[in-house]
Subunit: 160 residues, 4 copies
Amino acid sequence: MAKSVNKVILLGNVGKDPEFKMLPSGQGVANFSIATAERFKDKGGEWQERTEWHNLVAYARLAEIIRDYVKKGTKLYVEGRLTTRSWDDKESGKKVYRTEVVMSELSLLSGRGEGDGGSGGNYSRSSSSAASSSSFDQRPSGSPDDYAHSTEITDDDIPF
Amino acid sequence: MAKSVNKVILLGNVGKDPEFKMLPSGQGVANFSIATAERFKDKGGEWQERTEWHNLVAYARLAEIIRDYVKKGTKLYVEGRLTTRSWDDKESGKKVYRTEVVMSELSLLSGRGEGDGGSGGNYSRSSSSAASSSSFDQRPSGSPDDYAHSTEITDDDIPF
Amino acid sequence: MAKSVNKVILLGNVGKDPEFKMLPSGQGVANFSIATAERFKDKGGEWQERTEWHNLVAYARLAEIIRDYVKKGTKLYVEGRLTTRSWDDKESGKKVYRTEVVMSELSLLSGRGEGDGGSGGNYSRSSSSAASSSSFDQRPSGSPDDYAHSTEITDDDIPF
Amino acid sequence: MAKSVNKVILLGNVGKDPEFKMLPSGQGVANFSIATAERFKDKGGEWQERTEWHNLVAYARLAEIIRDYVKKGTKLYVEGRLTTRSWDDKESGKKVYRTEVVMSELSLLSGRGEGDGGSGGNYSRSSSSAASSSSFDQRPSGSPDDYAHSTEITDDDIPF
DNA sequence: TTTT
DNA sequence: TTTT
């Protein structure tokens, strides 16, 4: 009896541009990580900060939203559930574990033009390419963005 | 700007009796794991159940409550935060990761006399020792419990 | 941009047997309330307890589960979202507000035989005596419930 | 047995500039409301949006942070607990209820210079005073703010 | 690897 | 009363 609960709530910043893959089944998968920071007092009574990194996975539609709108530096609110996969390391033969958060909810918190590693706030990457570009992922990260006219995305651009 | 959030909520059953250790600092630490179960439909449309195991850690007062009241089979509600520790495996030299939930809140959900994996036991182990025994931890796990008369704990026995 | 979040998590005990109604649409609705307790220190440094009551609403399948398995005293874990309805009081003409939690998840935490306000009861209301309970008889799922001998429900009895 | 849980998680936008009051005890209180939006399909299968308003209260330090950094339009992540106060309406004599979320955690999600409803974007009140004024709290609320030149706050300005 |  |  009693259904169990397995819920994770994270609010933090994306470390690197997400990876997006299409499974043979045709379902998309996005992988990336986000950082959260905790403050604590060390033994000397000084405030320290520790960064925690969380591995995230998303499937299907959520994976596509991530592919299209999430990049390095984006601030996100995420809900999901904890999963731990394990396999045998090929070299050592030892069991290896990897814990991930399988996402179920996402809220994009970086404003338009925010959430960029500093190069000038171009959500155009996602906005422009979101519409059309499946070759988007191949674009070298950091390449010039020639959609300078569309540096803003409007609400209507975001299909969720 | 923007404080981050790192929150885990779990409701599930304890896998084995928790381990309790006293750190050199005099602070207690409890380690154990709980299971949650997800239901999902497999490709054939059949309902399957997958069990997920979560590593939990608690410190200080929470560790002592766990030592005294939690055992194999206990149903728990837990809040905490995700942390991942890593170290180099001595044999292979490879980096190893272990993700744990550091507990901040606990609610014991097994009724009196419940929460036992089937071996007949009950809360008496904790109830009796809660009252009196700080040497409780040294008691070999599995030792006979001779407090058969006190198989019930009342709310007043629980100091939290 | 940014999807909003409206989430409530409650763990507490049911105050009275839930009310169940069938809407004209054929959809069921369950209404009940649960209590949570907070401890706080008063000005004199004494620990006090304050009970908070929460109005819950559930629809459809969740409403039926509640009708069948939840009663006065049952301990529940609930997830839901906050909603506030308002209307004009007929007598005074003043606007009246009522905030409720619309349930999306439920975990029944009272063990078999627990969750009763003290009368020694058990799940019989839902399992066996479900049939005999007053307002309960509107139940369309109709099966006469004459299993008076089966005052225990097993996990297999619960269809969720 | 079993501690209860009473937790609310909200992510939404502030409706109006918060009200801040100092209690006779010297403790500050902030009151404001935030909106969340739900999407649902109506009977005709069309997507509709419903806005839900939540009353928030914060005390002490959190109240001061809100006074200093939160205003109309600010996007917030909030954790808190549900409380319902009641009193007798003076005119009708009827019992009136008001449900509020007592805040325990806050994350400011509006970027610098964002979160303004259009009326002039003055984070300056907080930015300027945050930067320089430790006597800020004594400043009569509503006094002119002549730091118009510092409309940006940097991360270092925010003491939390 | 992020961010403040 | 907000925001997308």
